[in-house]
Amino acid sequence: MGALAIATSRSPTTRDGRLRAAVDAHYDVVWRFLRRMGVAEAGAEDAVQQVLLVFARKLDLVEPGAERSFLLGTALRVASDHRRQGARVREVADDGAVAREPSNLLDADEELDRRRARGVLDELLGQLADDLRTVFVMCDLEELTMSEVAGALGVPPGTVASRLRRARESFARLAAGERARRERGGRDE
């Protein structure tokens, strides 16, 4: 079965189709994952292309069905490179507002709220340890299965479960602190 998968995936048409299907199915997830891992909106598109280039080069080594794990595992390293290069930019609430104008006033309000929420989310995620942040984003924000996360990170599922538990505890503490800060701010006004 595995040999058959390798043999068929080597035909140019199949490889092309597989790449297109992976981009179609997983582009958004990879893009959001990179954003939550600290890549600025302006650099996210380039970062996804880096991930996809690696995927294209190693396409025949990726088992069918494991594309998303592979893409996110690669995205994790790309995001880490971005951070090392100092490309990580703490975004302000109106980052990228010009790129996508909402169609009406109601949408504009909602979009502004979401943008602010994402700003808060990124700030809280930035306070988590990298390994906890990764598992939290994959499991709780992008809703990957435990085995997908384990495959992407190359660790046993038990390790994923333990990191997720610690990440949730830390995030809940940070969120409670942020909520309390907001409430204090609201009373002061």
Binding site: Y27, E45, M146, V149, A172
Partner: protein, 181 residues
């Protein structure tokens, strides 16, 4: 490997749920997918298909580990068998030594019993001697028999006796004395 979703998290907290929902609502810019495909497809054509012998790393690791584990198991098994063989040989040697010591002890005990019987017989002869010459001969024989019995008794006790402790010649309170009183 488990295919299960992660257990329910803390999204019951409305604040956390709001943040998660805002994250999922974020979308890449329009046309980003098409641009990515346009950039990546030429790369796919430029890279030749990977040969079948380039197996995924996990498979390679499994293939490498299997013979190593097999060799380790064989070596451990051989070491265990060798240890058991040595233990059996050592137990047999100890049993043989014990049997030899018991046989020697039996022989010496029998010698002692015979000497004691001779001494008793000669003592009776000394007591019932009718003249001085007969008594003197019997006494001489008795002295010789007692000497032989003492020798036999000493040999018998040496076989089963513990080594005697050397006497301590230290003066009381000597700080350089190594004897335990």
């Amino acid at each position: 490997m488990s295919e299960e979703r992660a257990p329910e998290g803390n999204e019951t907290d409305p604040f956390v749920a709001e943040l998660a929902s805002a994250s999922r609502a974020e979308q890449p810019p329009a046309g980003a997918k098409a641009r990515a495909l346009a950039a990546v497809l030429p790369e796919l054509e430029a890279v030749p298909a990977v040969a079948a012998h380039e197996a995924p790393p996990r498979l390679t690791l499994r293939r490498t580990l299997a013979p190593v584990l097999l060799v380790a198991v064989v070596l451990l098994g051989a070491a265990h068998l060798e240890h058991r063989r040595e233990m059996a040989a050592s137990a047999a040697a100890a049993a043989q030594q014990a049997a030899a010591a018991q046989a020697q002890l039996d022989r010496l005990t029998e010698d002692l019993r015979q000497q004691q019987a001779t001494v008793a017989r000669l003592q009776a002869a000394v007591a019932s001697a009718r003249d001085e010459a007969t008594r003197a001969v019997a006494e001489q024989q008795l002295a010789e028999a007692k000497r032989q019995a003492a020798t036999a008794a000493a040999g018998s006790s040496r076989t089963g006796a513990r080594p005697t402790k050397p006497t301590c010649n230290c003066s009381p309170g000597d700080p350089l004395c190594s004897c335990i009183p």
